[in-house]
């Protein structure tokens, strides 16, 4: 069992629209995989089917040797899936430290403590510090999230996904809406992630993504288009066609 994530013929249908159409992907343990494709290619829907936000109409989602197709979101998180959101999804009225505490406690039974104190154990503290350090937010611990810049909020998204020590980290357009200099920070953070962490990354900015991953899956209109290493993707005519439009003959 070397594949951490195995999607078998996933279809997701909304009414008459097939947003994802028979997609089969195998992600081996420790690989960094990108799913690319133009807007509307079905990337985020596929992502939601992996994490459980939508249920696959047909097909199977295998994670870590288990069939999780019908498992609810929180149960998938409990067995090691962690994700970030394309549209920043944090706890805006809480501080960075409180956001991290919620991320840490998600998988610990202490979240049910009704009268206990809120302080972290030394081990939890070390994990929070490490994740904040990797995401370059260690100095922002006591800031209320809604008072942070958008770029910093994206960094916090990463820190919260990391602190749960997942087996699989799913990043949904981590650099969406960022300025070029902020993009550099985010890609540096991703590059600095532990090499043994399996990563699936959605992005439609090809330049950012091709330098970060081992293997690329390109979707178009909900269907698989190409699977190849980044170097081949760069020169693949099918990919160029969907991104740039078809080249005209004798132009």
């Amino acid at each position: 069992m070397t594949d951490l994530l195995h999607l078998e013929g996933i279809c997701v249908q909304f009414g008459g629209l097939k947003a994802v159409d028979d997609v089969t992907i195998r992600v081996p343990r420790g690989e960094r995989r990108a799913i690319i494709g133009p807007n509307g290619a079905g990337k985020t829907t596929l992502f939601n089917a992996i994490t459980g936000m939508v249920r696959a109409t047909s097909g199977r989602v295998m994670f870590d040797g288990r069939d999780v197709t019908r498992m609810p979101v929180h149960a998938r998180a409990a067995i090691g899936m962690s994700r970030t959101f394309q549209i920043t999804n944090l706890f805006p009225n809480l501080t960075v430290a409180e956001n991290m505490r919620l991320a840490l406690r998600g998988l610990s039974p202490r979240k049910f403590s009704l009268l206990g104190g809120g302080s972290l154990t030394a081990e939890e503290h070390a994990r929070a510090d490490k994740a904040l350090g990797v995401s370059r937010l260690h100095a922002r611990r006591d800031v209320v999230v809604k008072e942070m810049s958008y770029g910093e909020q994206r960094q916090l998204e990463l820190a919260m996904a990391l602190v749960a020590q997942p087996k699989l980290l799913l990043l949904d357009e981590p650099a969406a809406g960022l300025s070029p200099s902020e993009r550099v920070i985010v890609s540096d953070i991703i590059r600095a992630l532990p090499r043994d962490l399996t990563l699936v990354l959605i992005e439609h900015d090809m330049d950012l993504v091709l330098s970060l991953v081992d293997y690329v899956t390109c979707l178009n209109n909900g269907k698989m288009l190409v699977e190849a290493p980044p170097a081949e993707i760069r020169t693949n005519t099918l990919v160029q066609d969907v991104y740039l439009g078809k080249a005209r003959h004798h132009a």
Partner: protein, 321 residues
């Protein structure tokens, strides 16, 4: 990024300052409730008792409305279930202590059932569903005449001999409410309380982090029902009488308005809200029968000038300085 190093340093003193102000305010409040009964006539001691009891109801509402982001309109009914059970038990000649336990248990059970039904909804749907659930309780109390006495209500003798006087009873309530408040304060600051605030801010993120949001909502609703039941049981001792008006919608609305007036999500605001509304009711009704109009005007003013409630407004002012 250049400000990152100074940010924690500047936010820490602000938090300490707020802590000090809050501590002083709590001390003044406790002192006021401890000393006031010695200075005012007997009738007003019973108003003070009522304020303390309803503050517990308002805090129970605040657990859901302020901390969990779900505004309930059924807590008067849950509160009243406890009152009915306690009064009924005493009328049947049962021991008061057993009656109080049964009353709180019944309210908690009703809270759990309502929770199961209501947690799937949010926003205005949650408001309407809880309103309807509360109305069912009211309907049952009104129609099930053989048990509830219908419109005539039930009269019992819940209060034990040694608490018969106004003063001893007031101080007994004062002590019990103090303890309940401390427990609720610990509760909202616990890891579970933080979870509720997380759910208030983003349910989808909580799920992605591994939280079973429905389970937490159910527990929050049940716990909130338990506290509303405690208030209802105290009210049974206070009033020795219960009628459908105790479980009516107006009771639920009043509990919610107390929480809002004091400041939603502040817990202790419940005392300010309860004092403001019960105090005003009693004061204005001496002069005019139209006290609901006065109350309505007061809410309009609060919504315009202090939408986060009294404590929310004061907190803003303190922070700004």
């Amino acid at each position: 990024m250049s400000t990152s190093s100074s940010a924690p340093a500047s936010s820490t003193p602000a938090r300490d300052g707020l802590g000090k102000v809050a501590l002083i305010a709590i001390a003044v409040g406790v002192l006021a409730f401890a000393v006031l009964p010695l200075l005012v006539p007997t009738y007003q001691v019973s108003i003070l008792t009522e304020i303390l009891i309803f503050a517990v109801l308002a805090m129970a509402v605040d657990i859901l409305a302020g901390y969990t982001g779900r505004t309930p309109l059924c807590h008067g009914a849950i509160f009243g279930v406890a009152t009915y059970v306690v009064v009924y038990w005493s009328q049947q000649g049962g021991a008061p202590v057993t009656g109080l336990l049964l009353g709180v248990a019944a309210a908690t059970l009703v809270g759990a059932i309502f929770g199961l039904l209501a947690i799937r909804t949010s926003g205005v749907y949650f408001l309407l569903l809880t309103l309807a659930l509360g109305m069912i309780v009211w309907g049952v109390c009104l129609r099930w005449t053989s048990v509830t006495g219908g419109e005539n209500g039930l009269r019992g003798s819940v209060r034990p001999e040694m608490l018969a006087g106004h003063m001893p009873f007031y101080y007994a309530v004062f002590a019990v409410v103090g303890l309940i408040t401390f427990i609720m304060w610990r509760f909202v600051r616990s890891p579970f309380g933080l979870t509720l605030r997380g759910i208030r801010d983003s349910e989808s993120r909580m799920r992605a982090l591994g939280y079973n949001v429905s389970l937490h909502l159910f527990l929050a609703f049940t716990i909130s029902g338990f506290f509303a039941g405690l208030a209802g049981a105290l009210y049974a001792m206070f009033n020795d009488f219960v009628s459908p008006s105790t479980v009516a919608l107006s009771q639920s609305v009043e509990g919610l308005l107390m929480a809002i007036t004091g400041g939603i999500g502040t817990l202790f605001g419940a005392f300010i809200g309860a004092a403001a509304i019960i105090g005003l009711e009693n004061f204005v009704s001496q002069y005019t029968e139209r006290w609901p109009t006065v109350l309505g005007l007061m809410f309009i003013l609060i919504m315009i000038f202090a939408p986060q409630g009294v404590i929310g407004r004061v907190r803003d002012l303190v922070r700004r300085r």
